[in-house]
């Protein structure tokens, strides 16, 4: 990973990003369809495949890579306004406005040039692409058709028209245009990719598979195509091949590919069952804000949290998987040495004053039911650290999330936080609510502690 921002500037921004991600999956409404939701399968007109993951259509559900995550200032779940902080939302809105103004200015300039030279293909193609980018699919289609009247052999024109028609859900005409584009320029990766989408939508998964494979033949590192191909393979029941494609896409940072790969490891469909690997990939997807990944991890955590006589084989295996996951985190930091068996990576990094690296690792470990990491986070919340202000909301979000999963340490911590009003307004009712379900001794101790705290 490449850190582009300075350490000091990154930390608070990162915390904000993490908080937003965590809030993102709590209501789990991110899967509700948006007007342009289908555009995740349509490639932007003016971009090459490698640019796909950088630029998105307005309102599009954003899937980001890990690299992007390091450089972006806006968290991935920005469309969920309920979860956004006002400052971030305003920043995004401002950036969008500026971008739109630039596009409109460019559009006006291009239209002027087209008045002087209507036959010129480059400005008309650009006008059509900009119109599509602005969401005017009908206007874009008109411009593409005008372009093709003057230049019927313009492959990009056909590609653009096909893509715009896909936005209008005119699958048949769009396919014809894309096929024409491919005939004129057999190296148009975007065209094959879009054809794959159309074929799948029209109920021809085999043709879709072929189209995606053609796109991958032209551009083997096309992560989105790997992901799409994996999806088609999964739908038609070729789990093993699907898992391979998901793996390539997941390594390239496609969050949903990571989710499906984690699912494959969990269920053993196409891969050997490996719960640790499942946790690894779900964690990565979760860190990108994917609610399904959060849900999967929550379920597994609940299973692992079962203790005592009711603990079954599955619970035990889940708990062991989380432990193993924490052990494997050491492999990401070969420069660190494990002094004690109970040491965690996050705590060790803190000891080495590598705070920026330590915090996300601590969160991972804590989410993986590591008590030491959990205690460290609670301490950080209550006391803070150099470069880490106390009462961090991101830690509170973690605690509430895991408390809802039934984790006793989190419930205990929240009882204390709300009972004593640490970083939050004191709320005894809420605090007592967290006591419910705790072991009797622990509950009694907490109640005593709260009573003492209330005594003047």
């Amino acid at each position: 990973m490449t850190l582009l921002l300075s350490e000091a500037a990154r930390v608070p921004m990162y915390f904000a990003s993490m908080c937003l991600r965590l809030l993102y999956f709590i209501p789990l409404i991110g899967i509700v369809a948006t007007p342009y939701a289908h555009a995740d399968t349509v490639m932007p007109l003016h971009l090459e495949p490698e640019q796909i993951q950088e630029e998105r259509l307005p309102g599009e559900y954003r899937e980001t890579t890990e690299d992007q995550q390091q450089v972006e200032t806006v968290p991935p779940a920005e469309e969920h306004a309920a979860a956004e902080t006002p400052s971030t939302a305003e920043a995004v809105s401002q950036a969008d406005k500026l971008a739109s103004q630039d596009v409109l200015e460019e559009l006006a300039h291009l239209r002027k040039s087209l008045i002087l030279d209507p036959d010129d293909d480059a400005p008309r193609l650009r006008v059509a692409q900009l119109l599509y980018q602005l969401g005017d699919a009908d206007g874009a289609i008109d411009e593409f058709r005008t372009l093709l009247r003057f230049h019927p052999e313009n492959a990009r024109g056909h590609l653009g028209l096909g893509t715009a028609l896909m936005a209008k859900q005119d699958w048949r005409t769009a396919l014809v245009e894309l096929q024409e584009a491919v005939r004129l320029d057999p190296n148009l990766v975007q065209a094959f990719f879009s054809m794959g989408t159309i074929h799948y939508t029209r109920g021809s998964p085999l043709a879709a598979m072929q189209a995606y494979r053609e796109a991958l033949r032209l551009k083997p590192d096309f992560a989105e195509a790997h992901y799409r191909l994996g999806l088609v393979l999964k739908v038609i029941g070729k789990d093993k091949e699907a898992a391979q494609e998901f793996e390539v896409a997941a390594l390239n940072g496609i969050a949903k590919a990571q989710l499906f790969l984690g699912n494959a490891y969990k269920s053993g469909e196409g891969l050997e069952k490996n719960q640790v690997m499942a946790i690894t990939w779900w964690s990565r997807a979760f860190e990108q804000g994917l609610p399904e990944a959060a849900q999967a991890l929550t379920q597994l955590r609940r299973l692992a949290a079962v203790k005592g006589p009711t603990q079954g084989k599955q619970s035990k295996a889940a708990a062991e998987s989380f432990q193993e996951f924490c052990h494997q985190l050491w492999l990401d930091f070969p420069d660190l040495e494990r002094e004690q068996p109970d040491d965690t990576v996050g705590v060790t990094l803190l000891k080495h004053h590598r705070t920026a690296e330590a915090l996300p690792v601590l969160l991972r470990e804590a989410y993986a039911l590591n008590i030491a990491a959990h205690m460290t986070l609670v301490r950080l919340y209550e006391e803070g650290l150099e470069g880490v202000p106390k009462h961090g909301q991101w830690i509170l979000v973690y605690l509430e999330s895991t408390a809802a999963d039934g984790l006793i340490p989190s419930r205990t911590a929240l009882t204390r936080i709300y009972g004593k009003g640490i970083g939050v307004p004191q709320d005894l009712v809420k605090a007592k609510g967290f006591i419910k379900g705790l072991p009797k001794d622990e509950a009694k101790a907490l109640l005593d502690e709260l009573t003492i705290a209330q005594t003047p």
Partner: protein
């Protein structure tokens, strides 16, 4: 074939069975032309019952998840992103749902706007991990069930949800659901059935094998112990759905998707568990699911219908319907009962019982559905019953005529058999008599010759044995006659031929006869006329027999006039009057130039009578060679004109008449037997006038009226004594003689009253007539006339006659033997004449003739060993010692005639051989 026909005509239950089969087949055929109306009528009661019954509640563990306005606000109004369903499926599985059904096909891809392949893959993973999820499969539609213009097909996609589709009846109402569908990979169970098998935890192959026998391995919930059960499918593998409630989804426990989502969101899953654990959860999320018209009059989605199927299977709330074959059998049973009552029980009672049968069946149909859940067929049985009433009426009319014909045939057959047996009896009697005579002769010989005693004893024993045997045979023949007479009496009792005529009917028939110039009030003749009317309706050949002047031609014309051929020609041909050379030309016609004098084509009598009736009078006088020619025409109705090479076919009804005894003609060889049997289709023996003396007065009056009308004078009256004289006279010439007598008297009478003297009837005839009449009235026990009269009355049955007279049978035999010899002498050796004279009734002529032949033959055999007539007479005196003296004179005359003929023959032989020398 004839036997089958006879069996059919004589057995009511066979007729009822045939009618029931016919009517059910006909109504099935007729309703097959209007299947929509048929189905509407057939299921009308079922639909009405569903609408108006107390709606039952679903008690099966089923939970429906339904869309509502809140769900649409939350997730959108159209088709939802499958990721939503994926999450719900996972949550339901975690909460312990026994089976989960979703109405979203995984084979139809999501559009990109709804998540595309991502959502598809998520739902697929959720379904796989849950493992108890049933989703619509691809299937081939059952033949005859058109796909509704539903969402999937309207979009041009493959109908993946086909195994959710119910079956439409012909009236476009959904009452059944096929339990199995054919797909590319084999048979797949219906959506609801698959859910049920998943719930029962059945092995996969059991739900797929297409059998109605399902035996769950173990239930997912302990309290559900589903035992082996037969699912009552119809022939097409469809199950009649037992709808609960009013058919809508409200009949089931349900929650909305929004509520389910809320429960899924809650971190504590207890509430969701309590709601869905151990239940079949059916998620109906497709807003554009095809709707099908239900028996309730409302449209139901395929998912709701599958929920009803699921409820039917889980609750085992079966509604049964009969297989097609049993439906037909039930229909036939009802029709059979209706037809049997109509045919077997005459009058209004049969009709009432038939209506009762129909009513009882309708009541049964109305009761069985609510009581035991059986849907019985209604339309075909009721239509069949209506047809039964029509058919039975028509059949009854047809059968009555046919039954009469059959009874007449039976009667004739038995009469023939009786004649044959009677002849056999006569032969046996004769044999016994002859043997007794031989025995007597042997006894006498034994007395006279002691030396031959031993031989005679042996002969006596042998003869005694033969007598015993002959007596046994005679007794058997007598028993046979008794049986046949009983049978004949039974047939007469059943048939209408000899049903005694009522006064009204007699009067009616008499008036009808008068229309044909037949004047009679004689019951027998009126009865014959009634039979004639029945026979005339067919093309049966009629043979009219009777003495001259009995009115044969009148009856022949009557046959024509009452037949359907009345409007066609009636050609009367006197066979005796046709020149033998012109026989063929006259009867069959000729072509021009076929012989000298044939200057033009000429149609024969047969051709002239085409489609009409030909009356062949005096058929007994036909030559043998002509008889054979006529035979062919009677047999095939085809003949060749003289000179023609192609046959001519005609449609002619034959009526023949004769005053001769054709049976005697057969035995004597002057009449062909095959022609006789061809002619005697319907034999009409006309009694002579002397046997119907009550008609004489009427006929005489009618004749006098005719004569007066012809001469245009006032008609004369008959004095009382003249009337008595007419009635007492024998009228051997019958009506013709009566007519001449009256004409003569009319000419001779001077006043307006005709007296006995004017009639000029001879006194001998009168005296004879008187005597015979007196004899008949007061039979002299020992007198020949009395004996003969009783013999005639008893049909020349010796035993019966002896019983009547109180005599020994041998005495009666001796007396008849004497009468026979006397008659032979009177007829100068002509046996036929002698038999006619003795028999009195033409039907007995043959019997008497056989007796005469036998007696005469035996006499000749007895005397042929003697060389002179005297010796023979001496032997005969000993042999016929019981014969009265007056009869022995006849024996003597016959013996003398025999020897006279013998000497003549030897003389002629001697003369014939002399020249040779």
């Amino acid at each position: 074939m004839i036997l089958v026909g006879r069996f059919f005509y004589t057995h009511t239950w066979i007729q009822a069975l045939a009618i029931s089969i016919f009517t059910v087949a006909l109504s099935s055929f007729l309703w097959s032309l209007a299947p929509v109306t048929y189905t509407t009528m057939e299921w009308g009661w079922y639909d009405t019952w569903l609408k108006h019954r107390q709606p039952p509640e679903s008690n099966a563990p089923i939970l429906l998840i339904l869309r509502d306005q809140r769900s649409d606000q939350q997730f959108g109004t159209g088709i939802w992103d499958r990721a939503i369903l994926a999450r719900m499926v996972t949550a339901l599985d975690d909460a312990g749902a026994a089976a989960i059904g979703i109405d979203v096909s995984l084979r139809v891809p999501s559009p990109p706007a709804l998540g595309g392949a991502v959502s598809d893959a998520l739902l697929l993973e959720a379904v796989r991990s849950a493992s108890r999820v049933v989703h619509p499969e691809t299937a081939t539609f059952p033949v005859g069930d058109p796909t509704p213009a539903s969402s999937s097909q309207a979009n041009g996609s493959y109908p993946a949800a086909a195994h959710m589709q119910p079956a439409w009846d012909n009236d476009r109402i959904v009452r059944r659901v096929p339990l199995f569908f054919e797909s590319g990979t084999g048979t797949i169970p219906a959506f609801g059935f698959k859910l049920a098998t998943t719930f029962w935890n059945l092995p996969e192959n059991q739900g797929l094998r297409g059998s109605s026998d399902v035996t769950p391995r173990n239930g997912p919930v302990s309290e559900i112990q589903f035992q082996s059960s037969e699912v009552p499918m119809d022939q097409e593998g469809r199950l009649l759905v037992s709808f609960v409630g009013r058919g809508t989804a409200d009949a089931f426990h349900s929650i909305t998707f929004a509520d389910l989502w809320q429960l899924t969101d809650n971190k504590t899953s207890d509430q969701l568990q309590g709601l869905v654990k151990g239940k079949v959860v059916l998620m109906l999320s497709d807003p554009s699911a095809a709707k099908y018209p239900s028996p309730f009059g409302t449209d139901l989605s395929a998912g709701v219908i599958q929920a009803h199927l699921l409820d039917t299977l889980l609750a085992r709330r079966w509604t049964y319907e009969l297989p097609h074959v049993l439906q037909l059998i039930a229909g036939m049973a009802v029709c059979f009962l209706a037809a049997w009552f109509l045919l077997a029980i005459k009058g209004g009672k049969g009709s009432v019982l038939t209506i009762g049968v129909i009513g009882a069946y309708v009541a049964l149909v109305l009761v069985t559905l609510p009581a035991v859940g059986w849907v019985l067929p209604l339309t075909i049985p009721l239509t069949g019953c209506a047809l039964v009433i029509l058919s039975a009426t028509v059949l009854e009319q047809r059968l009555s005529a046919r039954k009469i014909t059959l009874l007449e045939q039976d009667m004739r057959r038995i009469q023939e058999e009786m004649v044959a047996v009677r002849e056999a009896l006569v032969c046996r009697e004769n044999a016994v008599d002859a043997l007794e005579e031989d025995l007597e002769s042997a006894r006498l010989s034994a007395n006279s010759s002691v030396g031959r005693q031993q031989e005679l004893i042996e002969t006596t024993d042998a003869l005694r044995t033969q007598i015993d045997e002959a007596q046994v045979q005679e007794e058997a023949a007598r028993r046979r006659i008794g049986e046949l007479e009983q049978e004949l009496a039974a047939i007469r009792a059943v048939g209408t031929t000899n049903i005694p005529l009522g006064d009204t009917e007699q009067e009616h028939l008499r008036q009808e006869c008068e229309q044909f110039s037949i004047i009679t009030a004689h019951p027998h003749l009126l009865s014959e006329f009634r039979d004639l009317k029945k026979a005339a309706r067919t093309s049966l050949t009629v043979l009219v027999t009777g003495e001259p002047g009995t009115g044969k031609e009148l009856f022949a014309r009557a046959v024509h006039r009452v037949s359907p051929r009345a409007g066609r020609p009636f050609i009367a041909v006197n066979m005796a009057a046709i020149s033998p050379e012109l026989f063929e030309s006259e009867l069959f016609g000729h072509l021009r130039g076929s012989f000298t004098g044939a200057v033009s084509d000429r149609k024969g009598y047969f051709e002239l009578a085409h489609q009409g009736t030909i009356f062949l009078d005096e058929i007994g006088d036909l030559r043998l060679d002509h008889q054979s020619k006529l035979l062919r025409v009677l047999q095939e109705q085809t003949f060749y004109r003289v000179g023609a090479t192609t046959p001519t076919t005609v449609d002619v009804r034959i009526v023949a008449a004769t005053n001769k005894d054709l049976q005697r003609g057969i035995s004597e060889g002057w009449f062909r037997e095959d022609l006789y049997f061809r002619l005697k289709g319907f034999v009409l023996p006309l009694p002579p006038l002397r046997e119907r003396r009550e008609d004489i007065v009427h006929i005489a009056k009618r004749l006098i009226q005719q004569m007066a009308r012809q001469r245009n004078v006032h008609e004369v009256c008959l004095s009382d004594d003249a009337m008595l004289a007419l009635q007492q006279h024998d009228w051997k010439g019958n009506v013709r003689e009566l007519q001449h007598c009256l004409e003569r008297a009319d000419a001779l009478s001077e006043g307006r009253t005709m007296t006995r003297d004017d009639l000029r009837l001879s006194s001998d005839e009168m005296a004879q007539s008187d005597l015979s009449r007196v004899g008949r009235l007061m039979p002299e026990p020992a007198g020949d006339a009395a004996v003969l009269d009783i013999l005639r009355q008893q049909g020349f049955d010796m035993q019966a006659t002896a019983k009547t007279l109180g005599w020994d049978r041998t005495t009666v035999t001796q007396r008849l033997k004497g009468l026979c010899f006397q008659a032979l002498v009177a007829s100068q050796g002509d046996r036929a004449k002698a038999a006619t004279a003795l028999a009195g009734n033409p039907a007995l002529v043959r019997t008497v003739e056989l007796k005469i032949m036998d007696y005469h033959g035996h006499l000749q055999k007895a005397i042929q060993q003697f060389s002179t007539a005297e010796e023979a007479i001496l032997d005969c005196k000993r042999r016929f010692k019981n014969l009265p003296e007056r009869h022995f004179k006849s024996v003597e005359a016959l013996v003398r005639e025999y020897f006279s003929q013998k000497s003549d023959a030897s003389l002629s032989l001697a003369k014939g051989t002399q020249p040779a020398r």
